[in-house]
């Protein structure tokens, strides 16, 4: 394997992959195997390079540009299975410039099959249940490229058949139909049975599940999943109801939304409904927890909204909630740009807050109407190059940053938006050999070294075709700059906490002051082995 470091022409030198496709179980060569290397880039897939194995199992893929590829294979009855080694959930391989692999052994694994059926308490078949084969240990289980074949619906005999990579699996059956259907009324004294997600053979929880060992080239039959009853105590049954006040007359109704979560300030959208003619609304069958509720009304002429209400739902229903629709408030103020001459006429800019926008006049003053209660990012366009929103002063209270909290509504408030020159950070992303990270899924994270980290579009940048990244309008401060590649840097890092930890461990510290233009090349960090951090 020859890798050229210094000659620039090396980047243009194509690589190749040649070898033999064999049956992984008995080593016999396989003809008619279609192998395809599908190129990956930050913005999606690039070209594909392929070959078809001949009577001796021999294949040859040549003229492949250096980079990362998804390894896609096709041969009836077989799969290509690869040990998981990176953040990529599909079999993959990287080819370096001028790399020529002539002895590649493409081991194809005969498919493993699991079949059986799903039945209920009476032993009757259950139609339209979804059956999913979940690897027992997600981390170390090998991966293969299948088109969603690990989840199948049961047919009219309750039967299912799953074919895929060999391994140990939990078989999970989820009954079809509406899961939020309210409990039905039985008049004969019987209890309506509600079934829930069940692990083979009949368990509601993974702890009591029995793994199924699916072997290559073999079928495990007779897997009968006996649906487990959903515990009535865990069935959500609480109710929130109330009235919307202030709906304008006419046919249009207000809509009511609720978010649900475990703690205040941390809720995600759960449900919505339309208020009735009299403004009443009800949400049924809710779980205990924290709820945030608000209502909005929209027609051609008007946009009304209520102040969001947050409360905790525990053992009993919440009824008679009152939600008052009100038009948004007026917000006026000025945009102040550091360094601008006080008397000179100012450039026209657009201020955007929530769904409202307004333009600044020659004195930099603006007026917005219809601003609803809520929390918003304040946007000003256009901004001078690399400028950022430094601070917001709302009625004499100053907050650093661009987040405006008007959750309690506004009434003729005054807002001063301070814009200052921020920093710029650009550079190239390299691999550990100092080569540009081309033809891969590479990004750079910019994580504040101190204080709160809120993940946003501004905290990560993808590289372009020449492996260059850039951050503009960076708020002054100390940051960790971390290069991350989906193929090399280990498992995908998710969540602000994990990103912060990874950045502190692998990133480079950089300090940004107002007006700085920083050029910094970043090296991706590479994880070996099982990808654990």
């Amino acid at each position: 394997m020859l890798v050229l470091f210094c000659a620039p022409a090396a980047f243009a030198q194509p690589a190749s992959l040649e070898g033999t496709a064999v049956n992984g179980l008995n080593g016999q060569p396989l003809s008619g195997v279609h192998i395809s290397l599908i190129g990956i880039s930050p913005t999606g897939i690039r070209d594909a390079y392929g070959s078809l194995s001949d009577g001796h199992g021999h294949f040859s893929v040549t003229g492949v540009p250096a980079g990362m590829y998804i390894l896609f294979t096709e041969k009836r009855g077989f799969l290509y299975v690869q040990k998981k080694k990176s953040g990529v959930p599909l079999p993959s391989m990287g080819l370096k410039a001028g790399e020529h692999d002539t002895e590649f052994k493409l081991e194809m694994t005969p498919r493993a099959v699991i079949s059986g059926r799903v039945v209920d308490d009476s032993g009757d078949p259950v139609e339209n249940a979804q059956v999913h084969a979940q690897p027992v240990s997600k981390e170390s289980e090998p991966i293969a490229l299948t088109f969603g074949e690990d989840t199948v619906p049961t047919d009219d005999r309750g039967a299912f058949r799953i074919s895929g990579a060999p391994g140990k699996f939990y078989l999970i059956a989820t009954p079809g139909g509406a899961h939020d259907a309210p409990p039905e009324i039985r008049l004969d004294g019987s209890t309506a049975i509600v079934y829930g997600q069940t692990y083979y053979p009949n368990a509601a929880a993974e702890e009591q599940a029995a793994p199924v060992d699916a072997k290559a080239g073999a079928e495990v039959t007779g897997i009968e999943i006996h649906l487990a009853r959903l515990n009535p105590r865990t069935t959500p049954h609480l109710r929130i109801s109330g009235m919307v006040q202030g709906t304008p007359p006419g046919k249009q109704h207000a809509s009511v939304w609720i978010d649900h979560g475990l703690k205040f300030g941390d809720t995600t959208i759960q449900n919505d409904t339309v208020a009735g003619d009299d403004g009443s609304f009800t949400f049924h069958d809710l779980e205990p927890g924290v709820y945030r509720i608000w209502t909005a009304y929209n027609d051609v002429d008007r946009h009304l909204q209520s102040q969001p209400l947050e409360f905790r739902l525990e053992g009993s229903d919440v009824v008679n909630l009152q939600l008052n629709l009100a038009p948004g408030g007026d917000l006026s103020g000025t945009v102040e740009i550091a360094g601008e001459q006080p008397g000179a006429p100012k450039q026209k800019r657009t201020v955007r807050i929530g769904g409202s926008e307004g333009e600044t006049d020659r004195d930099g003053a603006f007026h917005l109407s219809g601003v609803m209660p809520g929390k918003y990012g304040v946007g000003v366009e256009p901004l001078p190059e690399n400028a950022y929103v430094k601070a917001l002063t709302l009625d004499s209270v100053t907050v650093l940053g661009d987040r405006l909290d008007v959750s309690h509504g506004i009434r003729g408030s005054k807002l001063q938006i301070m814009i200052a020159p921020g920093g710029e950070i650009t550079g190239t992303v390299l691999d550990k050999d100092g080569q540009r990270m081309l033809n891969s899924v590479t990004s750079v994270f910019l994580v504040p070294a101190e204080g709160e980290f809120e993940q946003s579009d501004r905290s990560a940048a993808h590289v372009d075709e020449s492996a260059t990244y850039s951050f503009h309008g960076v708020r002054p401060g100390k940051y960790y700059l971390m290069g991350y590649d989906l193929f090399f840097s280990g498992l995908e890092i998710e969540g602000p906490e994990n990103i912060k930890k990874a950045a502190a461990a692998h990133g480079e510290l950089v300090e940004v002051k107002e007006g700085d233009r920083i050029r910094r090349n970043v090296t991706i960090f590479e994880e070996q082995g099982d990808g654990k951090k």
């Binding site: 279609h34 395809s36 594909a48 070959s51 003229g63 009219d156 074919s163 309210p182 039905e184």
Partner: protein
Amino acid sequence: MAKSDRVDVHFVRFRSLAFAAPICAVALWAQAQPPAPASLAGAVTNSLTGEGIPHVHITLHNSENHHAYGAVTDAEGKFTMAPLPPDQYVVEMERAGFLMRRNPGYIGESNQIELTAGEKKDVTLKLVPGGSISGRVFDSRGEPVESISVQGEGGWSELRMVRTDDSGHYRLSGLLPGKYRVRAAPEQIPLPPEHRSDGTEELHHARTYYPGSLSSKSATRVRVQAGTETTGIDIRLIRTPIVGVRGTLAGFPKGQNSVNFQLEYEGGDTNIGGVSKPDGTFEIWRLDPGTYRLSASGGGRTGLRSAPVEIVVGDRNVEDVVLQAVAPAVIPGHITYEDESAKPKENPRLVVREVSSRFGSPHGEEEAEIDSDGSFRLEKVPAGRYMVSVSWRTAYVVSTTLGGTRFEGRVLDLSAGSVDASLTVVLSSEVAQISGTVRNDEGPVPGFAVLIPEQEGGSEFQIAMGPKGNYSFPGIAPGNYKLFALPPGEGIRQDAIMRDLEMYEDVMEHVSVGPGQKVTKDLKLTEPEG
């Protein structure tokens, strides 16, 4: 009280109907006491054999109650539900291997049961044993194809997709008796042909209908009977060259994936991905052969759209397609009334609804209020072709004139947008009406009546339904129409019906109405099989 409800909608939900039974009216006057409870008992039987079916889960829903009443049949298929409040109920039944029928005649009026105060009703409910279709999928060389998705087309509901096993075998189950098309669709990766240097060529197949047809129109329909498996439905995939559509985007923001592509195909919309590039070019790969209407939309807030371009995909790439962004048009205008009676009474609005003349699936709709002097202003109408109508029923659109061009009828062509042109809409009060009764062999039955104008190629679809099978379409424009009846059920899927329109050729009525004319036409509702 036997009024018919007319709706011009894309999807209709069956609503419970008002009842006028005199007994109930009397009961309502006796305010002090609640009405005497009713009961429902009987059996669920197999529609083929007549045998009772055990363990059928029955639910009764009424409009008021959030909770349904439930019961399960015993070993002989019998059940009793008592006491029940008198009301109009919708019945649902569930049992693996069986399906509810979708036509009237089995439980009084379709799936509805009315219980009056004190009534002890005895019923025999029927379930149809489901049918199935099985076969194998082969590629163009005759090799079985593994893991390809196979789906049935036809009937009312979305049918389950299944995948073939490693011998290419599939089975579609849970089918109501009837006729179905069966299609196998390979997964398509949105890439140009792969590069090969070993002398072999990439084998690519198109979505193929049984037994081996590219289009749904020429596909053979497979007959399914209750409780029977129709076997041997083998599909041979058709090999097609890998072709693409390439061109440039003009007037759109530049960037990778900055626009969305919409490809309308005779079989519906396809979801093959298109890619737009930073240099303003775009590519769409691996489309099946056929005729498409391609448009792009993007720019977020600006609402830019390109005028749809018709492309024909065959053996070769389609190159140099230009998708020109057209800004949404602002169109001022006024109404001309041919006669006084055409004038509106209250809240008059002008409605323009987008149509795709060839493929019959409407998209957006814009409205404008009409002032007392007859003037209006349409705001932000995206490029496309539209049908113009008004919100009141005593007038219809005779013609429209945009700028200097006059269009007969209601079609307004805004494919190239509109700049500084004024729209004149001429209305006449000589509206027509078509009404009648939906019947089967025994007499009037509830059912939907569907009205489709002939000239616009099925672009507008109206539905009417009355409680006793009577229907009425008042206030329609004079012209030629197609009419047919559909059984009542959960809802109407307009796109599915438009695609399968030829299935109704046997029962389709053709009606002509002149200005001011009222025509009566009864529509035959055919019984389903099973």
